[in-house]
Symmetry: none
DNA sequence: TAGTAAGCGAGACGGTACGTCATGTCTTAAC
DNA sequence: GTTAAGACATGACGTACCGTCTCGCTTACTA
């Protein structure tokens, strides 16, 4: 018999998500266990298993709970400036220890659990990419971007390198790094004659 | 007292790494246990713990064992063609199920164990990046790349997007995708006047 | 948090004690392991560790489970005959392979684990000694035993030699041996004038 | 090929037996391991296994090494006094913590390993019993002991109760206890007319 | 007096069992 | 009738010792 969401205890749900977040920052993803979540939340283990598929799903929801809403990119008319803004913001986020830990957790989850991967991608990441893509479309309409530029790939050109550097910890994240990246992307997409 | 490598059994070492590779392809990283490795290799658990820090370290070495040597990039004089070659090869590798599983494993390890991360980066990944960087330097000397291009970032511009697409499984890996990426990178680095 | 006996599974308890008894007769005390008990009983190791301190405690309880209740000695009025009966029974028990194995196990446990020793002594052995002591008291009241005989020591005079012979395997256990021992004890306690 | 005793290192033998004794008093029989003996003695494990069958055999030899020679009983002509002496000495020995530990070890060994049991009995215990038996024979020849008394059983009448009390820790060992026991035995063996 | 075979310290090896931990399921009592 | 609590079977963890094995080294007998 599947559980009836109508009877679900909101109190328990909140306690579980809160406990998960606390334990995540205290002991990291690897040190997190269902048992510790249940104990901290003052909840039976069964209550967790009844409503989530496992550790990954709980963590995902706990993170999603407190994630900023994906906001549309500002459009100042100046693509270079707007891109620089996105890149700087992204770089700053990856440089931040806390946010970085969250991303690490999500990335592991993506790699390990195919089912969760889809959810993470669609609920948390896609919106961001879409924001940039929308801005690029507007710019292309305004003739600031080559007509033949593959916009999805350009979006990846923006985020991919940051992700890569973060993952491999090859070099630090500075503002000048962000600006150089934005410049490279601009060069790649600016129409020939400009 | 630390173990003395002089007395180490090469036979056991090989058996362990071979068993690890087999089990990795059979049951994946999550399903891999030290006990199963020991059983399959016909080896005592202690022999594994004596020489490796844990599952991650064994896997890392097992993978490293059979990884192709990082080869220097071919330099045909035509940067565009050479870049296209690298990108195509990289894309093909990520598209391959087996190689992809290996990369997945390594990436998880990087995210989860800081100590291993460094080793993975230095022993397995850095050489590849260095190969591309060297080729770019040669091209810059030949005037085929802007003098002010930040080469490390250009390297990331090549690999980052592929990594990003692979991670998020946003779209499939095709040859035309690879070529479009190579073209974007070329556009970003080609000197203005050309 | 100590376990709550109220929730204890009687089914598991029985299975564990039964498995212990089987394995004890099959492979002896030294060959007995917690893992084998758990496997045979179809029980998790933790369930054993939750309710017992270790191998010794389980064995003790398994033995106690099926031990005959300590019965009061018959009092026929003839002390000599009654004593002969006890000694013969004791000797017979020590001569029996199965019962002997149990005693061996208990004795080792007594020697090795002080905490268990007390329990074994009080729950299993003391009652027997008390039975003989009670019979001796009755006999003393009837004038069949010296008034100044130290009864506790007389009890030891009955069991001690049997234990000693069993332990050292010096000579076999025969009925005539038993009778000779009973006679010696009788001689030691019978009042002078008789 | 069996080892050649001629080449045996006396130095190692001594070190092993000394280490065994130390560890026996420090951590008891159960806590004793071959590895700890080897480490403490500065000796390879193989050297132990070459010359002994296992833990029990080493312990046995270590104990035998420092055991007082079995001395013949004094014969003062007064059996009662001589018996009292033996019993007092035995009781004192069992009351002593150190000697008691040794006896405990030996007893466990007897119970657990049949092969060792024989050796322990013959090399360590039998001589004592023989001493008492010899004294009793002399007494019987002198008419101080019933002609029909089964001397082997009388010997057990002396030692058995002490052993029993020690094993079960039922009551403390005092001098008056010893004397009462000696008196009981005397009563059991003294010829009727005396 | 050299050569050589044994014993030696050391410790790696394949194993077994340990006692602990977390998993996901099942049971009980209380609200 | 869902919950908190927690016992349960399962199975991996990392450790401790087992008894065997192989290394060089030292030592004492043999040629």
């Amino acid at each position: 018999m599947p559980p009836q969401p109508a009877r679900r205890s909101e109190r328990s749900r909140r306690a579980i998500l809160a406990a998960t977040q606390e334990l995540l920052t205290e002991s990291g993803y690897a040190g997190l266990t269902i048992e510790s979540i249940a104990a901290r939340a003052g909840v039976g283990k069964q209550t967790i298993y009844r409503w989530w598929r496992g550790k990954g799903a709980v963590v995902l929801e706990a993170i999603a709970e407190h994630l900023p809403e994906a906001t549309a990119l500002p459009d100042t008319g100046d693509l270079r400036a707007d891109l620089r803004g996105v890149v700087r913001a992204t770089v700053a986020e990856f440089a931040d220890t806390g946010a970085s830990a969250v991303t690490r957790t999500l990335t592991v989850e993506i790699l390990v659990d195919d089912e969760l991967a889809g959810e993470v991608r669609d609920r948390l990441l896609r919106p961001r990419l879409e924001g940039v893509r929308a801005r690029l479309e507007a710019a292309r309409a305004a003739g600031q971007v080559r007509a033949d530029a593959p916009l999805d790939q350009v979006v990846e050109l923006v985020f991919g390198p940051v992700y890569h550097r973060w993952l491999l910890r090859t070099s630090p994240f500075t503002e000048s790094y962000a600006d150089a990246l934005a410049k490279l992307v601009m060069t790649a997409v600016t129409p020939a004659g400009r």
